[in-house]
């Protein structure tokens, strides 16, 4: 009799445990982070200021408007339209990216000095975006299934509770780092800090979200820095103006508008 009671208690406690913990798997954490960080809203329009700063403190500037529209769920296709203001010799240049999670991006570039649009085929997700310390992949994200994720522990960044996730690429050829540690805010789901580790075990690159703001109900990292610890070069990004859910029409993201982007999207 006592034995049955004992078994009953054990069974009950098991149910109880699984019922209350409701622990997220590491992949679920990363999915939430992806949605919050890269896919907020249906679309967005952001005035971006990038400062590229060398170890010696020499500075270059990139200023652009970046339009984004999601097609499908978070983690699905996206289209980007970028218009450059600075540096001055590239003013009026426009750049369009159709991003697919499972294959190479399609990209188009408009060169105003030659009045020419060219499609660019590149397999360079690890290349640096406009010469900054952010790679194309850092801007548009990696497919979650390309890495094995695990929760290392929970840890605070500043006063924010975070999951510390370790992500190891399945195919080491595709990356120039061995693994990545991300601190994901448990409530807002934004990555607050990321460390990229080289194959020799040292940190090679470091990301930080320096300012997080609520913009129209979306938590947004409006200031962020990527620092290359090997070269000492860093890039500081400021979102000068951020808007969500503007109902950007689909056909903005076509070659036709690269040459003459509608005023209201780039002013």
């Amino acid at each position: 009799m006592i034995r049955y009671l004992y078994i009953a208690i054990v069974i009950a406690s098991l149910f109880n445990f699984s019922g209350t913990a409701h622990a997220l798997s590491p992949d679920e954490v990363m999915k939430k982070a992806q949605a919050a960080f890269l896919y907020p809203g249906k679309d967005s329009k952001i005035r971006v200021m990038m400062r590229l700063i060398s170890r010696e403190g020499k500075e270059r500037v990139r200023e652009m408007t970046m339009l984004r529209k999601n097609f499908g769920e978070a983690g699905g296709d996206q289209k980007y339209f970028i218009y450059f203001y600075q540096p001055s010799d590239v003013r009026d240049m426009t750049f369009m990216v159709w991003k697919y999670p499972k294959k190479d991006d399609d990209r188009w570039l408009f060169i105003p000095a030659l009045n020419m649009v060219r499609r660019i085929a590149a397999s360079d997700r690890r290349s640096n975006f406009v010469g900054s310390d952010f790679t194309y992949e850092d801007i548009s994200g990696r497919d979650i299934e390309d890495d094995t994720h695990s929760i290392v522990k929970e840890e605070k960044v500043g006063d924010r509770d975070c999951y510390l996730i370790k992500s190891v690429p399945m195919d080491e050829k595709g990356t120039d780092y061995a693994y990545k540690l991300s601190w994901i805010d448990k409530e807002r789901w934004l990555p607050l800090k990321e460390l990229y580790y080289g194959r020799d075990g040292s940190v090679v690159k470091q990301f930080s979200a320096d300012e997080v703001m609520d913009i129209a109900g979306f938590w947004t990292a409006t200031k962020r820095t990527m620092k290359n610890l090997v070269s000492g070069h860093r890039t500081e990004v400021t979102f000068q103006k951020t808007e969500y859910n503007l109902n950007i029409e689909d056909d903005l993201f076509t070659e036709r508008f690269l040459k003459k982007p509608p005023k209201r999207w780039i002013e």
Partner: protein
Amino acid sequence: MLKNAIRRLVTFSIDYPKTVIAIVLAVTAVFAVQFPKADIDTDPENMLEDSQPDRVFYQKVKKEFGINDFIVVGITDESGIYRSESLKGVERIISQILKIKGVIAEDVISLTTTDNIKAREGTLEIRPAMSRVPETREEVETLRRDIAGNPFLHEKIVSADGKATAIYIPIQKKDMSYRIGSELEAIVNKELLPGQRFYLAGLPIAEDTFGYEMFKQMAVAAPMAGLGIMIALYIMLRKVGFIFIPMMDAMISIVWAMGALIGLGYPVHIMSSMIPIFLMPIAILNDVHVLSEFADRYPSIRDRRKTLLSVMEDLYIPSFFAPLTTSVGFASLALTHIPPVKVFGLFTSFGIAAAWLFSMTIVPAVIMLIKEEQFEKAFGQERKHLWQKNILKGIGDFAWNRSVLIVAGFSLLLIVGIYGITRIQVNDNPVRWFKESHPLRQADTMMNRLFGGTYMAYLVVEGDKPEIIKDPKVMAYVDRLQKHLEEEPLVGKTSSVADIVKRINFVLHDEDKTYDTVPDSQEAIGQMLFLFQSSGDPDDLDNLLDVDARQANIWIQMKGGDNRQMTQVEERAASYIQKNPLPEGVIRVQWSGLTHINKVWQMIMVKGMLFAVTDSFILVFILIAIQLRSFLGGLLAMLPITISIVASYGLLGIFGRDYDMPIAVCSALALGLGDDLAIHFFHRIQHLYRVTGSLSEANTRFFQEPALASFRMTAVIAVGFLPLLLSSLTPYITVGTFFATLMTFAAAVTLLLLPATTKLLGRLYLKK
């Protein structure tokens, strides 16, 4: 007074031999324990002072353009590189190379890591030249066409005949070259297919390997030279115990000099590693004088103590002044602006002083510890028919009787020597420090035949304001300057930001040849560079253009790295700039890069040695003139040094050998050996003249014992260094040959010309 002091030192050593030896060994132990602290520096760049302008500029260029020194790996394939099987192996090799510690993976230039920009059906394609290994015949052909069609890749990563591929590997620090080279070798050897061979080239690896092999050779060469000297000593002195005394003396002075150098925190550089080789012959000079005369006088005295005191009595003064002069001569090398030469001069000088001390202490002490019977046995019978004495008597008579002929003969030699010196070509190249059969030399030849060149130099175009390089006039000028340089056969390939702009312009216009030019609008240039930067490898641009586009860096790949070749290319650029003035906004065009830096330090070194030796020469002259209290005597005493240098270097010029770093260093040795011979000659001849009152009689007596010592010394050094000829490094062969040549000339002057001039002019400077 000086004589008394030294006599007291020698007498003390004779009376308390064990105490003296114990003290010397104890001090030696203090110097010896410094050895493990040795910090080895094999970077030839350290030949330049930290503040030397070319060195400072090179550091700046490396930093601003993110440039590193390169090792180049070449893989040749008899059946051609363009086959799936071969390309697969190359892919595997590259992916392993990227993982080597110290390799800057993102800057490696190779088939799979370097982007090719091309147009295909209206699309701009930016992908690694070989993003995946082609399988079918058509795919292989496409790859071949792609590479042949891009000047950035053609003859750079694959040779024109398609039988070789090259991988350019930037490394973090030059002194990692040897280690990385060994790891590369292991990787490549594992993957090599039948019919394939591989080559390692590039200046950093030549320099680092040289440094490495040099230390290995020192461990072999110095003892071998020591052995050679011991054998020669035995032939001359016929007493086993006597060959160990000078060797011990030399070894201990080497330990003192190197121990002091290391203990004071100086790195052991290529130059300072030569200290043992230089110190050895100079250190044994005094000992040979002492032992030689001891052996000659013992038979008539038959008491080791008395023999020693009698021998020393004649040697106190010359044996003090000869090393003193040599020591001061070497110390004066500290006046050069070449840090390793300063260190070399000062510590060799210290070693010479130490060696003198040992001749006056250890040598008598050891002799006192050897039993009297042993000397009885060895030298008991007077060896009247000694062949050496007969030869010397012949030489002495000949010099005396044919004095005019001898003076005429040496004058002629001097003239021929001067003529030869006017034909000397100053030239050097670290790769040539290896024998032609060395794998590095062969790799150098092969790689420079197949590819655009493994010797890198940089030409930096500096503007007065940011963005100026994007000015079409400046860009076009850079392009024309490159074309002009490429017409020189030595220059294999040049790359600059202008090439990138031209390539993008060409590709944007669907590979239409008429657009393979620099566009004439600054905006177009800016946008093309932006396109390149945002889609290719941004580092590629950083290596060629600085952050604010104020400076451009033209990469010059050359097929040869001799100083003269570098100078030739630099002169070609200078003449172009003179005829075609720099465009507005460009303020300077300046050379840099390892090949240029080598040229600079070698020139400074070679000229610096010339001045340093001239300074020492004057100093030695003044010292000798004071010792002899005669200006004319001083002049004559300089003859062995002067003629041996002029004749040896003259021969060099006549035979067309390049005057390079090792040869420049050898001139310092002539000072050390030549002045010893001269000082001993003049002291003895003066003494003998005073005793006999007749020049002729003095000469005859000089050619008995005293000349025998000089003769033996010459033979010992000339023969003793012959083992160096077996070395695999040419500088050692040079040093070995040159020592023998210098020594032979110096001895010929001392034993022929000096007696001849004494006959003719002796009365003018010798005192009764």
